[in-house]
Homo-oligomer: 346 residues x 3
C-alpha cells in the first residue's frame, strides 16, 4: 500500500463527528490494530475484552466508545460506534488506488463497444460486442466480458473476472478475481434416464454498490433474471443459483450456496458455509448461522441455525438436550430398577 | 439472447408429439414463465400449485399435463411431462449461438497441435503441444489447454477454463468459466511431521455429453485416472477428488465435495453442498439430499440425508425425535414424581 | 507424463533405505496401483485389506511393511512405512517437468520488475510493477501478479493463478489454476442499515513449501497480514478469511472454509468441507473431521467432528444415542403403562 497522507484528529472529527480527548493536533497517517500500531497510527477498541491490548498499545491515538473513554490517556476520539468510525477513517486514509485510464495494447475489444475515455482496460482483457461500460470503470487484466454486458460507472473488476453475455452490473460494483457472473444455471430435465439441458435464457441483473468475492458464481436465470439488490455484499466462493433474488443490503459470508429460485429478503446476514435449498422464501432481516442447512422457508426475522435449520433457540436447546441424553437414559434405568417392586406388590 | 424464430403449435407437436387444444396456428417465438409471458411466448404448468399464475398469464400458449388440460382456455399442448416438453421447446427456440470459426490472432498454439478448420479459438487462449481438438470445438477467450490434452468434437469451453496436460474430454462437453480439469489431487504423505508431495501421474477422462459448472474442479488421478461417465452433469463450485469415478448420467448440484477414490454409481442425484468422504462406494440410483455428510458407503438405491448421512426416513425421524425430546424428558420427570409413592408403600 | 527412467531395486534401496527380498536387479520405471501395474511397475501395499489385489498383481516389484513381507514372492522392498516409501519412489520417477526459461512474447511485465534469467513466464501472463521473482520460478500462462508481490525461488504457478499486490509467497510454492491470493477480506461495517466497506490494507504472507489447490482463495488481512506457515498443504476450493493464521505443516482438505481472524495451530489435519467460524483458536495437532462445523475454540490436541463440532467420541456417541432414542421412548412408554397400577394401589 502507498503511504497515506497525514491527518490531525481535529481534521477527522470535523469530517466524521465524535469528540476529541487529548491533543487534537495529534497527526496520524494510517490505521492499525492495537498490537501493531505505532505513533503515526490510529487504532480502535470495539470490545472491552481488548482492554489489555489497549493498555499496551503504541498507537498515537485511538477511537473508542463513550463508556470506554477513560480506559486510556492517549489522544482519542470518542464516538457512538468505534468500529464504524474506524471504517470511515480507514476509508479516508486508504482511498482506492488511482488507475491509469486507457485500453492496454494487448486488450481485445470487439465491434460495437465504446470504451469511455475515463475507463481503464487491462492487459489481455477480452470485451465482446455491444458491451456498455460506464465512466471510470476499471477492468483488470485478464477479465472476459461477454457480448451485450453492461457495467455501471465507477465499477472495478479485479484480474480474471468473467461476465457472461447480457448480464448487467450497477454502479460502483467491486468484483474480485475468479468471480463468474452469468454462467448457465443448473437446469436439466430427465428423458428416459438421460439429462436434457434446458437453455438458460435469463440474465443476471445486479444493483448498485455490490461487492462480489473471489471465485464466487452467480448463475443467469433460466427464463427470468437472477436479481441481486443494491448494496449486497458477497464473500468468496459463494454459489448463487438461477432465478435467485437477493434483497438489498444483504451480506453473505464465504462458501455459502443458495439453490435455484430461492428468494432472500433485504438486510439479511448469512453466515459462512450455509446451504439454502431451492424454491424457498427467506424474510427480511433474517440471520442465518454458519453451517446452517436451510430446508424450509423462513417467514420471520430472527436468528436460525443447525442442520436442518431451525430458530437458533431451538437449535441450541436441541444440541444441549442431545448432550444430556445420557443422563436421561440413566434416569429411565433407575426408574426401571424400581419398577419390579410395585409389580411384585401386585 | 438473439430473437428466436417463430413456430406454430402445429410445428412443435409435429416434432415432439403431444396434443393441441385450441388454435394449432398459434405462433410463438420464445419460452417464458407464466408470470412474465407475453402473446408470443409459450409457458408451462409443471405443478398444480402454479394454477393461479396460469389463470393470470399473458402467454400465447401453454404446455400442460393431461390432468390439467382444462385448467385454461388458452391454446395449449397437452403432454405426459410438461417440464421435459418445455425443455425441448426451449432448446428448439434457443439453439447455441453460432460461433465464427478460426484462431484469434492473440491466441497461442504450440507446436504439434492441429486446429480443425471448423474450430473456434478465442482471444488470449493458450494451447500446449500435441493437443487434439475435435471438429466444431469452441475454446472461449482466456482458456488454457495443457500439453497432450484431448477435447472431443462439438465441445464448448466458455471463457477462462483450464484443462491440465493429458486430460481427455469426450464429445459435446460444455464447460463453464473457471472450471479446472486435471489439477493435482491432494496426495501427501507424512515424513517426520512434514508433508511429502506424491506426484499425481494419472489424468482425468471424461465421457460424452458432460456439463461442468463454473469454478468446478476435477482433480487428476494419483496413479490411475479420475473418471467421469457419459451424460454426467456437474453444477458450480464442485470438488471431485483424485481417482473418483462418477457413473453415467449422475447429476450433482453446486458446492458438493467428493473426496478421493470414492466411486459414485450411475443415475445418482446428489443435492447441493453435500460432502462425501473418500474411499466409499455409492450405488446406482442413490439420491443424496442437500447438505448431507456421507461417511459410509451406500449400497442400496434410495434417498439419504443428514449429518452423518443415513436413509432419509431415519434422518427425518431422528430430527423429529430430537424435537420431541423435551416432551420425553417431561414424561420421565412425571414418572419420577410418582415413584416415591410405591417406594414408601414398601 | 513422459516415460520415466529405469531404476533397479538396489538403486532405490541405496537412496531410501529398506531391505530387498528377491532379485535386487529388478528394474522398474514407474509406480502403479496393484490392479493396473505391469512388469516395469513398482506397487505398494499400505493396508492388509488390499491383500487380494496383491495376490493378483502384475507388478514387477512391490513395497510393503515388515509384517507383510511374506504375503508375496515378488521382488520387494520391505520398509517401515510403505506409503511414504512409495511417495519417495514416485517423486524419484516423476520429477517435475522441465520448463523452458524465458518470457513469452505475449506476456506483459510492468516497469520496475526484473525477471531472473532462470524464470519462465508463460503466454498472456501479466506482472505488475516492482514484483520480485526468485530464480527458477515458473509462472504459468494466464497468471496475474499484482504490483509489489514477491514469489520465492523455485515456486511454480500453474495456469491462471492470481496474486494480488504486495502478497508474498515463500520458496518452492506450488499453486494450482484459479487460486486467488490476496483478494480483499470480507470487512464491512453497518451504518444506518447500509454496509460500508473497510479497506483491507494487510497482505498475505506465505511460508516455504506451501501447496495451494485449484480455485482456493486466501484473503489479505484487514490491518495485519494473513499468515500461512511453512509446509502448509491446501486442497481445492478452500476459503481462508482475512487475518487467519495457519500453523506450519497443517493440511486442509477441499471445500473447507475458515472465517476471519481464526488461528489454526501447527500439524493440524482438517477434513474436507469443514467450517470454522471466525475469531477462534485451534491448538496444534488437532484433527477435524469432514463436514464438521466448528463454533468454539479447540484448545487440546485430539479429533473433533460433528455439527456443532465436539470431541469425536462425544459426537459418535451422540449420533448413536440419537439412533437409540426410539428404544428409549419405548421404555418410557412401558414404564408409564405400569404406573397406573401403583397409583390405583394408593
Amino acid at each position: 500500500m502507498a503511504k497515506a497522507e497525514k491527518y490531525r484528529l481535529a481534521d477527522i472529527v470535523e469530517r466524521f463527528g465524535g469528540k476529541i480527548l487529548g491533543n487534537p493536533q495529534t497527526a496520524i497517517s494510517q490505521v492499525a490494530t492495537l498490537e501493531s500500531a505505532g505513533v503515526l497510527h490510529i487504532s480502535f477498541l470495539a470490545h472491552r475484552k481488548y482492554r489489555k491490548q489497549l493498555a499496551g498499545t503504541g498507537a498515537g491515538a485511538v477511537i473508542l466508545g463513550k463508556a470506554d473513554s477513560k480506559l486510556t490517556e492517549l489522544p482519542r476520539i470518542v464516538c457512538g460506534d468505534p468500529y464504524l468510525y474506524f471504517a470511515k477513517v480507514s476509508a479516508l486514509l486508504n482511498p482506492p488506488q488511482a488507475v491509469k485510464s486507457g485500453v492496454h495494447r494487448t486488450a481485445v475489444v470487439e465491434r460495437g463497444t465504446r470504451i469511455p475515455v475515463s475507463a481503464s482496460i487491462g492487459a489481455g482483457v477480452y470485451i465482446g460486442r455491444g458491451v456498455r461500460l460506464g465512466k471510470d470503470t476499471v477492468i483488470g487484466p485478464g477479465c472476459q466480458i461477454g457480448d451485450g454486458a453492461q457495467i455501471g460507472a465507477g465499477s472495478r473488476l479485479h484480474a480474471r473476472v468473467t461476465i457472461y453475455s447480457a448480464c448487467r452490473l450497477g454502479e460502483r460494483a467491486l468484483l474480485h478475481s475468479g468471480a463468474v457472473v452469468g454462467a448457465d444455471g443448473f437446469g436439466i430435465a430427465l428423458e428416459r434416464d438421460r439429462w436434457q439441458k434446458i437453455p438458460q435464457i435469463g440474465t443476471v441483473v445486479i444493483g448498485d454498490d455490490v461487492e462480489i468475492g473471489a471465485n464466487t458464481c452467480i448463475d443467469r436465470g433460466a427464463l427470468d433474471d437472477t436479481l441481486i439488490g443494491d448494496g449486497v455484499k458477497l464473500d468468496n466462493l459463494i454459489q448463487i443459483g438461477h432465478n435467485v433474488h437477493i434483497g438489498a443490503h444483504t451480506a453473505i459470508a464465504g462458501c455459502t450456496g443458495i439453490a435455484g429460485s430461492t428468494r432472500i429478503g433485504k438486510h439479511c446476514m448469512i453466515g459462512g458455509a450455509a446451504s439454502i435449498v431451492g424454491h424457498l422464501d427467506i424474510a427480511d432481516r433474517v440471520v442465518i448461522l454458519a453451517g446452517a442447512v436451510v430446508t424450509r422457508s423462513i417467514l420471520q426475522a430472527g436468528t436460525y441455525g443447525g442442520h436442518p435449520a431451525q430458530d437458533n433457540r431451538s437449535w441450541t436447546h436441541n444440541v444441549a438436550r442431545l448432550r444430556h441424553l445420557d443422563a436421561l437414559r440413566e434416569r429411565v434405568r433407575n426408574i426401571e430398577q424400581q419398577l419390579p417392586l410395585p409389580k411384585e406388590q401386585v
